[in-house]
Symmetry: C2
Subunit: 425 residues, 2 copies
Amino acid sequence: MSIKEDVRNMKAVAPYLAASSVETRNQALSRIADTLREHSEEIFQANKQDMDLAEQTGISAAVMKRLKFDPGKLEDVTAGIEQLIGLPDPVGKVSLARELDEGLTLYRVSCPIGVIGVIFEARPDALVQISSLCIKSGNCAVLKGGKETAHTNRVLFRLIYDSAVKAGLPEGCLLQAEQHSEIDELLECHGSVDLLIPRGSNRFVQYIMDHTKIPVMGHADGLCHIYVDRDADLQKAIPVIVDAKTQYTAACNAVETLLVHREIAGDFLPELACALRAEGVKLRGTKEVTDIIQAETIEEKDFREYLDLILSVKLVDNVEEAIAHINRFGSHHTDSILTENRGTAERFMQLVDSAGVYQNCSTRFADGFRYGFGAEVGISTGKIHARGPVGLEGLVTYKYKLFGDGHIVGDYAKGRRSFHFRDIE
Amino acid sequence: MSIKEDVRNMKAVAPYLAASSVETRNQALSRIADTLREHSEEIFQANKQDMDLAEQTGISAAVMKRLKFDPGKLEDVTAGIEQLIGLPDPVGKVSLARELDEGLTLYRVSCPIGVIGVIFEARPDALVQISSLCIKSGNCAVLKGGKETAHTNRVLFRLIYDSAVKAGLPEGCLLQAEQHSEIDELLECHGSVDLLIPRGSNRFVQYIMDHTKIPVMGHADGLCHIYVDRDADLQKAIPVIVDAKTQYTAACNAVETLLVHREIAGDFLPELACALRAEGVKLRGTKEVTDIIQAETIEEKDFREYLDLILSVKLVDNVEEAIAHINRFGSHHTDSILTENRGTAERFMQLVDSAGVYQNCSTRFADGFRYGFGAEVGISTGKIHARGPVGLEGLVTYKYKLFGDGHIVGDYAKGRRSFHFRDIE
């Protein structure tokens, strides 16, 4: 049986999952957390198989760390599920209630998107987080994880799915795709899948966007900036930049380019360079920068997303130039200004066209957990539908419900009746 | 100069328009309304040129009606602008305010999408409505109207653009594309254009979706249903169905398929057929239907969007069968149930996966003006970002603003600090 048939079936199931009560969805989540804990040994054994295979193929230590599913990660994901259970239901929220005319009342009510396909990297905890978010938000999900954790994913998925169905969610509400070829099949399911969320490398996300008619929510890159303003507190600035660059270099919210106000560069850059070098960061900069500190000279057009202990540096005349650089070369992900001047900060935050605009803090805060969303299915650098870390609210849409009593448009067109548009409190 | 350069320039202008005050944007709208009234003769003359040319090419009367821009239409569009001025600013609304930790505060604030490309049919009033909506919502817009109203559009655009700039909006914030070839150029501007809104035939909208990497908000068809339940008030039902079919047959929210509960079909269909025939509506139906009333027998798979005085009819056993039919064959636009049974209505409105789900009223109510949005840029049958009639709220997105005081992620990762997630009232 092809995945296309399963997904078509899922489309028919989706309205019933969407109609399930939040109590049933929370019970499913609770049962999932319990089941994962009860079957921890089975999960760890499957994960050992994946780790052994990965070791044989010589995967890097950094990736190995992501593949691993140990008691600490189990605790994290089950704690995440408990947190999700405590969050309010994102479904059924009324965002507009308006009497259009006597007896004709309009409501805009949030509802699940329907069928969501998520293609994610080899991280077993991601499978748990994504399926929990989809269940809480009432969405059917097709899950395709990285092949390096196939054994772990298979066990996790079975435990999650069985628990969900036992708790009363409809059969067929979750589906696991295990073959790489199924990704291309999934991309063709534009009649059944409402949204695709690809996670992974830029190239991969771009491939997905280029090969499907299904709307895609993903980020194609994360080229984050920090601008050190003339009015920055330089002692506050250094730890923020070090954190943004080194706390987790492989993350999309790590800083990649530093813009420094020309007037403070002479004092600030040597001290910063010293702090960054102590953390193993290599600096690259324009000619002006390398006249001040020792660094590799590169041109502005060669600044890029390194995902490594490398930072590009450039001088600017003022906040306007910093804004223009970021809007032109950035990826609209997260950009931070370091300044004690509230007016300058507000101008920066107003004019920088990014999902996250920060003052005096590290770009690494761009994350669903740190925003208090419980978890995230990804970080969107698109502007349509959801922007930044995407939690439950990004997984719902809305429908308009209109209640009448035989109302017809002809009466309004001919002036026999007229609308009075009275919002209901 | 190619339109691509203009659009790239617009991308740089967009943050400045986004930062403009609502007072400036409202002044621009007010000035536009005044200017259009002052220059009405010039507009009508240009429109006469278009009408004369159209007549020579033998365009149908229905289309001619859309091309026409007369004192009545001028009054409608200027009244629409006044209504828009009165609506609250959609920009700068705070939808989340949360202290993550002491001194670290997150806000989610609505902001314009940026640069929007709208490709619309030959209707001069649409040009005015769309540009007004974009100005009020702080978005730059590239406008491409149908070629049959080229003269009218040119005059209208000049008056609108000049008024906007004179009122203080940035130069280059609106752009008119006049050549058909410019549509294909626009489709390639995925670095500059944030959203495309195509209006027109299904084939045209599908063409746009298939030929661009820019997110598209459009509807590919409008196959709306009315389901007449066993518990319907049949005397209420007939005028609703007649209105939904005949009030404006070319509209996407006109009803195309009628589903009738089997138990009432024998009584109801003959009376309905009589009322519809009196309005010139031709009926088509499945074998079961044509056993009851005189109509062309067709198969369910041949039901389609007619945009004409034709209605498909089918019998169903119950509301569940109606829901399944609509979710499978409908276009997720607007579907209505006629019933006095609130429980049945709620089940229908819960499970039908459409932008608009109605009880006891005509599908023709699906419209931005009738919902009280002032106007609409289109009706979305997609589920992502905006659904149903799209007014000001569909033209904004949001950004996250995070204010800190030297906060770094490392402190939280190492347990030196922890988040307390306190929502600010």
